[in-house]
């Protein structure tokens, strides 16, 4: 995608010119020099957003530490933890051997005693080697100990497909972790989401699974001044309505929010006004916002990249049928990844995941309109 590549180049340039110690002030001045016309808005990549969030939380609370493969000297496998080793030292930015089960468990054990680890998985596919600890010793502990031992840990890393990385590196874990009581599962989209939700996750006293997306790391989004404040926090469990509409509700999370917004623009030309909901949080799922939106628009399309069976869309569909059945004017459409392990070939991979056209077609089906002549598969 050309757009992404261009944005990645911008990000790379701005990264190299930053000094992380006073990056915020510098960015502001640089941004205001570069854009004379918009004094208030600045742009920030998701990568910088995550990095600044980690930086600020580590500065504010000495019990926060980062642990994972390549987080220190390599500056992060995806450069999310860049600069943190120099600033905070190896005791707080811990490079680990390749032992997911081991270091996830070590994180949980240290969280039992009140430290606040941020455990990075190079991708969430590797979290399967540590899933026993995420679920059995982190998620269930507050319940099993009847409130005596809470686990203020954050497991973060890229989730879902990237580009051409093959079947074992492309699975989306939102549905798996979203079904476990005792976990909070967050899925940021924009830089503001990334900052606010990561800060909330680190401050939260419960285990949080923070699912990022590799292809979003380089994308820039405008951030408000409030979002740049070091005490900025987004609430866990509340979805955001990215675009208001009245004909159809489209729910999405992570990268699919971008696709849904583009689909909404295409649908606008056809006279279909789409409301796009950025879920932000898979567990707890913001059923109230989703249902309120469906009651307004009467039609629903859910979009996700994960496997279709037992996916996020399935849960949203069930929730809407349970709570707002009478308001539905058409059956719910679920758009998900194809029910196959991810293929490698570029054209097959493209077919295996939802594209903007798929969202547009599903929206039209739900509105009982035939495809317009201009759109093609």
């Amino acid at each position: 995608m050309l757009g992404t590549i261009r944005q990645k180049a911008v990000a790379a340039r701005s990264l190299s010119s930053q000094v992380l110690e006073n990056d915020l002030m510098r960015l502001r001045s640089v941004a205001s020099v570069m854009r004379h016309y918009s004094a208030g808005t600045k742009e920030m990549t998701v990568r910088d957003a995550l990095n600044s969030a980690l930086d600020e939380e580590m500065a504010a609370d000495p019990s926060v530490f980062v642990m994972g493969e390549e987080v220190g000297e390599y500056q992060g496998a995806y450069k999310i933890t860049k600069g943190l080793l120099d600033k905070y030292g190896p005791e707080r930015v811990v490079d680990t051997p390749i032992t997911e089960a081991g270091f996830a468990g070590i994180g949980v054990g240290s969280a039992y005693h009140g430290l606040r680890p941020v455990v990075e998985f190079m991708t969430f596919n590797f979290s399967m080697q540590a899933i026993d600890h995420i679920i059995n010793s982190a998620a269930k502990s507050n319940y099993m100990s009847a409130g005596q031992i809470n686990v203020p840990i954050v497991f973060r890393g890229p989730n879902g497909p990237a580009a051409g990385v093959g079947a074992q590196h492309s699975q989306c874990y939102g549905a798996w972790y979203g079904s476990v009581p005792g976990l909070k599962v967050l899925v940021p989209y924009s830089s503001e989401d990334a900052r606010g939700l990561l800060k909330a996750a680190i401050r939260d006293p419960d285990p949080v699974v923070f699912l990022e997306n590799e292809l979003l790391y380089g994308e820039s989004f405008p951030v408000s001044a409030e979002a740049l404040n070091s005490s900025f926090c987004l609430p866990i469990g509340k979805a955001k309505i990215e675009r208001e509409g009245k004909d159809i509700t489209i729910t999405a999370f992570s990268k699919m929010v971008g696709y849904a917004l583009k689909a909404a623009e295409i649908l606008e030309k056809d006279g279909i006004s789409a409301e796009v909901i950025n879920l932000r949080s898979i567990r707890p799922l913001d059923r109230a916002t989703i249902n309120a939106s469906v009651r307004k628009t009467n039609r629903l399309v859910t979009v996700e990249e994960g496997f279709p069976q037992h996916g996020i869309g399935a849960e949203i569909c069930a929730s809407v049928v349970e709570d707002s059945f009478g308001y539905l004017d058409a059956p719910v459409e679920r758009i998900a990844g194809a029910d196959v392990p991810t293929p490698y070939a570029a054209n097959l991979e493209r077919m295996a995941f939802p594209q903007i056209e798929d969202i547009v077609r599903a929206a039209r089906r739900v509105c009982y309109r035939k495809s317009s002549i201009a759109a093609s598969a």
């Binding site: 808005t41 000495p62 019990s63 530490f65 005791e91 707080r92 680990t96 051997p97 032992t99 089960a101 081991g102 270091f103 996830a104 468990g105 070590i106 949980v108 054990g109 240290s110 969280a111 039992y112 005693h113 430290l115 026993d132 600890h133 059995n136 010793s137 502990s141 507050n142 319940y143 099993m144 100990s145 009847a146 409130g147 005596q148 031992i149 203020p152 009581p181 005792g182 909070k184 924009s190 503001e192 606010g196 909330a200 401050r203 939260d204 006293p205 419960d206 405008p222 951030v223 408000s224 409030e226 979002a227 900025f232 926090c233 987004l234 609430p235 469990g237 509340k238 955001k240 707890p284």
Partner: protein
């Protein structure tokens, strides 16, 4: 203290009066586990260790130096000659350890009775026969030290100080249990006594214990609590010693010199799988030196020997010298759990270990060395029997958890806005903003 003896099966601990720090072969010397030096012979020592039960070795030190110690340095011999007393523990310590072991035994026997009467249910794994390991190690800990265990955790919790009433109520599934009935037999947690579980998956507790040890080091180095020398004990069995997480943590604990002791309770059986059928090299203590930490083998049916080894390992960890792997050869008198028919174990093997019951051995030692009288021990036994009876009564009379308890404690902070500085949920603060910034 050195783990001397290149050719013996059981390590004979040396005199109690020798303090580890002044001993020439203490762990403080050179010990970053450079195996070139032979002064610490237990590291990679070529002992012919077999698991045959034919060799019977005197389980306790007698007054004279034990004849089974083969290699003893001159300095050590000298120290032994100088010491006036050869008793391994004082009267108070002896009574404390005896009481703890007897409590473990009486409690577990009562659990079996209650299970067969239907008061206890689910999976119950009893610790009979292994009391020497629990009492030998845990009675040397402070309250702030942590213990992490497996599903065979009742006695570890009791030794660490969780009241018998709380454990029994938890087993009955009552509200007054240590986890309010929500954990059960396999998930004993106590924040107050630093019992960090109670895990059903074998090997799961080892990384958690390593994390607790990591916290100790972190508190000292980063949070600057200079006197934080808390030690963590991880208890697990012979089956676990083949699990990947065990090796991952041996590596990281030695790499970062964490204050942890890995205690293998090798009772030779993992349900029905014999250790010898499951393990390529059955000598588990050898896996320690492979990762750069001392590996020690000790007779786990003898609480005094276990105590000596424990003292040294705990001292090492407290001084910041890193982890130790201790293999305790022990035996469980009952089956894997109360549902296990226990048909695969040879009755001769069971008889052999039953004859070496740790409680009987300690009793014999205490009386023969004239530390205590029969009457003292009888008084303790009577007291413990009463404690256990009282625990059962208390558990019986306690109420079951209320219905509202089902949905409680899933999260520490259910709405996820965080807990503010005044300890209340932030979302309940009227001045809290939701932070839904619109761009």
């Amino acid at each position: 203290m050195a783990f001397v003896g290149a050719k013996i099966k059981i390590i004979q601990p040396l005199n109690l009066n020798v303090h580890a720090s002044t001993h020439p072969h203490s762990f403080t010397s050179n010990n970053n586990c450079k195996f070139t030096s032979l002064s610490s012979p237990f590291l990679g020592s070529t002992r012919t260790h077999t698991l045959t039960l034919t060799r019977s070795i005197s389980p306790r030190r007698s007054a004279a130096s034990s004849s089974t110690v083969v290699a003893v340095s001159d300095v050590v011999k000298e120290k032994k000659a100088k010491s006036t007393s050869n008793l391994l523990l004082t009267k108070e310590e002896g009574l404390e350890v005896y009481e703890d072991m007897y409590l473990g035994r009486a409690f577990e026997d009562m659990c079996a009775q209650m299970y067969y009467r239907g008061k206890m249910f689910g999976f119950v794994h009893l610790y009979n026969g292994q009391e020497a390991v629990s009492s030998g190690f845990i009675k040397l800990l402070k309250k702030e030290d942590s213990v992490v265990s497996t599903y065979r955790d009742h006695v570890h919790a009791l030794s660490k100080g969780v009241p018998a009433r709380a454990v029994m109520s938890e087993l009955f599934g009552k509200k007054t249990g240590c986890c309010r009935g929500q954990g059960g037999s396999m998930h004993m947690f106590s924040a107050e006594h630093n019992v960090l579980g109670g895990f059903a998956f074998i090997g799961e507790g080892i990384p958690v214990a390593t994390g607790a040890a990591f916290t100790s080091k972190y508190k000292r180095e980063v949070l600057k609590e200079a006197d934080c020398d808390h030690v963590t004990l991880a208890f697990f069995g012979d089956g676990t010693a083949n699990n990947g997480q065990f090796f991952e943590c041996l590596n990281m604990a030695a790499l970062w010199k964490l204050p942890i002791i890995f205690v293998v309770e090798n009772n030779l059986w993992a349900i029905g799988m014999s250790h010898l059928r499951a393990t390529s090299d059955p000598e588990i203590w050898k896996k320690g030196p492979a990762f750069g930490m001392p590996g020690v083998h000790v007779d786990g049916m003898d609480v005094l020997k276990v105590r000596e080894v424990a003292k040294e390992a705990i001292g090492r960890a407290r001084r910041g010298e890193g982890p130790t792997l201790v293999e305790c050869e022990t035996y469980r008198f009952r089956g894997h759990s109360l549902a296990d028919p226990d048909e695969l174990r040879d009755p001769a093997e069971k008889a052999h270990y039953a004859a070496r019951d740790p409680i009987t051995q300690l009793k014999k030692y205490l009386i023969e060395s004239k530390l205590v009288s029969e009457a003292d021990l009888k008084a303790i036994e009577k007291k413990i029997d009463e404690v256990v009876e009282d625990a059962v009564e208390f558990a019986d009379e306690s109420p079951a958890p209320s219905r509202s308890q089902l949905l409680e404690n899933v999260f520490a902070d259910p709405r996820g806005f965080g807990i503010g500085p005044d300890g209340k949920y932030r979302c309940e603060d009227p001045k809290f903003t939701e932070g839904t910034a619109q761009v």
